[in-house]
């Protein structure tokens, strides 16, 4: 329940939202698998062209048990000849069995490759969800923090303290208006509004509020 408190007690938003943050963080931690770790090295499937990133996989295979070297049989004439030895004269059924083996091998390799692509899509989905959780955390923290800050008595969200045209010692561009505001619990934030937006223009205060809000969120992130 969002309302575990008595009706007249002020709501404690920190207590209310903290479990959400914790849950989002836990979900994120659970989902953040190390995709570059040894468990996620893609299995070598084909003979690899030089420069291909899968070269590394062949290197690993060679270091591990040398079988990676057999992938290079196409480059040796005598090795090729072994593959084309026809033993059907001494055993006719062998030729058929070998054909069956090669056919099923080709199909298995194709399906393994397809499966690998699907696994990569699955990885991508996980990364996508993790990024969304990150966004959720950021947006949620901003909303809940404000919820907590809007409980004080007699506070506007935004209070305009001073409005000043540019002075000679100011950093603002010539003709700009400097506006000092307080947003929620912030220290005064000074924003500059360009000359072309006059004080009578409704866009003036929107520009001030937008800039102040940007600054406020930036400071909170820091």
């Amino acid at each position: 329940s969002l309302l575990p408190y008595a009706p007249f007690e002020p709501l404690n938003f920190q207590d209310m939202f903290q479990p959400f943050f914790d849950m989002i963080r836990q979900a994120q931690q659970a989902i953040d698998v190390n995709f570059h770790g040894p468990a996620f090295q893609h299995p070598p499937m084909d003979f690899i062209k030089e420069g291909d990133e899968d070269n590394r996989a062949v290197c690993r295979e060679i270091r591990h048990n040398s079988t990676g070297c057999l992938k290079m049989k196409d480059q040796c004439e005598k090795c090729q000849e072994i593959l084309s030895v026809d033993c059907s004269a001494s055993s006719p059924s062998q030729a058929q069995l070998r054909q069956e083996l090669n056919d099923s091998l080709r199909i298995a390799e194709k399906l393994t490759k397809k499966y690998n692509e699907l696994l990569q899509s699955y990885q991508w989905k996980m990364l996508n969800t993790s990024a969304l959780l990150e966004q959720l955390n950021e947006q949620f923290s901003w909303v809940s923090r404000l919820a907590n800050l809007t409980q004080d008595e007699d506070h506007y969200y935004l209070q305009v303290i001073t409005v000043t045209s540019r002075t000679s010692d100011s950093d603002a561009p010539s003709g700009a208006t400097e506006v000092s505001v307080k947003l929620f619990d912030s220290d005064p934030i000074t924003v500059s509004v360009p000359e072309e937006v006059s004080r009578n223009n409704p866009q003036f205060i929107e520009t001030v509020a937008e800039k102040a809000l940007q600054e406020y969120r930036k400071k909170n992130r820091e």
Binding site: Y115, T129, L146, Y156
Partner: protein
Amino acid sequence: DQEVSSKELQEMSTQGSKYINKEIQNAVNGVKEIKSLIVKTNEERKSLLHTLEEAKKQKEDALNETRDSETKLKAFSGVCNETMMALWEECKPCLKQTCMKFYARVCRSGSGLVGRQLEEFLNQSSPFYFWMNGDRIDSLLESDRQQAHMLDIMQDHFGQASSIMDELFRDKFFTREFPDISHYQPFSLLHRRPHMFFPKSRFAR
């Protein structure tokens, strides 16, 4: 410098607060949109998992057929042995040289050790294994093992995350319709009255 009356400052504060109020509403809506995206991605993931399971079944059927053919073919290993052995003896040095060149050029580490290991491997290997594409079969089996391991890890992690997200999104915060707060009143007014008369406005914050 220019003079700005306190009344004008107050009016500006009210107007600015309206803008901020809208932004808070946008942020709340943003949270819900992100939640919807997460739910949608999770649905897509489940559907992908179903496809993965089907693909896995097909792959394993093909692997089993391959293994069956291999087993049957092994029974004939003596046939043509002589021819193959002669070719194998000529194949080995070429294979070693090609592999070492590749290793030195691409892998760039520990060639000496790899050279000895390779020689031993080639001497122990059978040309029949080579003839039957045993290396390709081994590579497939290794891929199968790694893929199963990868899926296990991902399933485990996603399972944990999903149950947390399900619990999180069941909360009223994510299911409640937030009221329209476009008709802004300064917040202080709300506080001067008992909360029970304005519960919805409080939730909007």
